[in-house]
Symmetry: C2
Subunit: 318 residues, 2 copies
């Protein structure tokens, strides 16, 4: 048995794995595209494959790991290892015993957790949130997820706390992918931004967003496509990013007024790319709403793309 | 020494005191109007007077109490007993050693806490929030204050958590008494509602609100005045109460999405009066925004006007 731990971040687009040592150093990593067809069995097989590759990179067999943690979308039951309602994954509405399946495939114990919760915990233990007693992780990507650390521990509420993307920024406002109105994610989520860009283009506004998407052979408006459009001076892209920043600043401002935390950590695909260049407008927007004289510290996540997998591996020591 | 504890709820309008036994039963109570002139010394003298009267009612001298707790507005420092920035109290911007002053006057130890935090703790320990591990107290009065219990303990953040009234419900919306825009309190706080009613009356809308206020010799639109106006079928009053309920439901919905708590407790002058009759519209508004399948329990506070004083007394046992 080694003293290494494995972590798997199961996303709608990719499966990212990492193997870390007791210091949190990454000793091996691998990624796979998430299967778009088949079912949970196929996804689990790809996850196992990627984890074995990361273990090999770290010089061990998967069975020699202390254990493997998984950060999962949908409803992840930490106790049973069953994952259900993973809407972005193929054929994964019903409960599937992901923990048990992976344990058999990998020959070591497997712990299942929520993807955003483990990514927040990773930043708290090893990243931008180190040293703070309370923080809110804001993961700005396809949707906008949130994780809470309060008093040095993850706060899960009845099990699903942290839905910062569904805090309301404008009563009666834009329709959110979740079906409700005026959620922050309705303005800031990548999926909602793409839908809005498409609507506006159809209404005659000019934009290179979709041309750039095709040119770079992307299936959707990735954060890279948004960045290139901004570099090209695309007006619509700039407007929609500004609109997203305003919505995030408003919702995070509300969250600060409620929780008065020490720090805010901005992660996720769009957050990692635009957090630094848009930090001042983001802070300005928060300041408009924050009730306290002293703002919390606001930082961009430092573990980058690997944060989810690293955080998942931390489930093993719990 | 008795086993009784004293509590003082220091409000902008009145000072409410209570003496409770180890079961939380009220054994004596008294109230005084809060002095509107003078300074902190005069307020402290009125507080001591009212507490002595409550102790007498309970059959003891104030010096025989286990101690006395104070729920205070402004910035209340639990460690030093100093209160500052109490904007609604006469001449109370600077720090005043309220704890020390009351200890001398009462002959027993005094603990100072935040008014909303202690009222929330009272409902959690002895009232509508009993038995829940996490809850949000929403105190709907002149402003809208909030208190959090998370994992069985008050959550204070960096010291000032719970500003639910300043969560944003409409970006760029109505101006709040705090100076910001679109806060829930801008729509739901008694002070903001009164200002809006006055503006609309000046703009030619009809209302009996101010006539009723004068008829009942009230200096402002109290919750009782609002109730009478509703009974008289006052259209403007009904509209503004509906608008307040919508704003509260939206902000509380956002707070639920972030914290996923077990319960919401509605208190405060307006909350105690309108919480029950408006429970269904309030729940409907929350449901529009809550991301989870299961709503938390929503209840009206059960300790009523005495909640603040009872909660203050609980500071003594900590």
């Amino acid at each position: 048995m080694s003293d290494l731990r494995g972590g798997i971040d199961l996303g709608g687009t990719k499966i990212q794995t990492a193997v870390i040592d007791t210091e949190g150093e990454v000793k091996g990593e691998a990624r796979r595209p998430t299967p778009t067809e088949g079912g949970p069995q196929d996804v689990a097989a790809a996850m196992a494959e990627a984890l074995v590759e990361a273990a090999t990179g770290a010089g061990v067999e998967s069975a020699e790991l202390q254990g493997v943690g998984v950060g999962s979308p949908g409803d992840a039951d930490e106790k049973t290892g069953i994952v259900s309602n993973a809407g972005n994954l193929p054929g994964w509405a019903d409960g599937f015993p992901l923990g048990e399946t992976l344990e058999k495939a990998l020959g070591t114990k497997v712990r299942i957790g929520n993807d955003v919760t483990v990514a927040t915990d990773a930043e708290y233990q090893l990243g931008a949130g180190k040293g703070f007693d309370s923080l809110i992780g804001v993961f700005w990507g396809t949707g906008v997820g949130g994780g809470l650390i309060l008093g040095g521990k993850p706060w899960l509420g009845r099990g699903a706390a942290g839905e910062i993307g569904h805090m309301v920024v404008k009563r009666g406002g834009a329709r959110c992918p979740c079906g409700r109105r005026g959620c922050m994610e309705a303005y800031a989520g990548r999926a909602a931004m793409e839908a809005e860009a498409r609507r506006r283009q159809e209404d005659g506004e000019k934009t290179d967003l979709f041309k750039l998407m095709e040119k770079h052979d992307k299936p959707r408006l990735t954060s890279g496509v948004w960045e290139r459009a901004l570099e090209h001076g695309d007006k619509l892209a700039a407007e929609l990013i500004d609109r997203a920043i305003e919505a995030i600043g408003t919702a995070v401002g509300s969250a600060i007024n409620l929780l008065d935390p020490e720090a805010i950590i901005i992660g996720g695909g769009l957050g990692l790319r635009f957090g630094e260049p848009y930090m001042e407008p983001l802070l300005d927007e928060m300041r408009k709403h924050v009730f306290f004289e002293t703002m919390p510290v606001v930082r961009v996540a430092t573990l980058g793309d690997l944060g989810g997998a690293i955080g998942a591996s931390l489930l093993v020591s719990r």
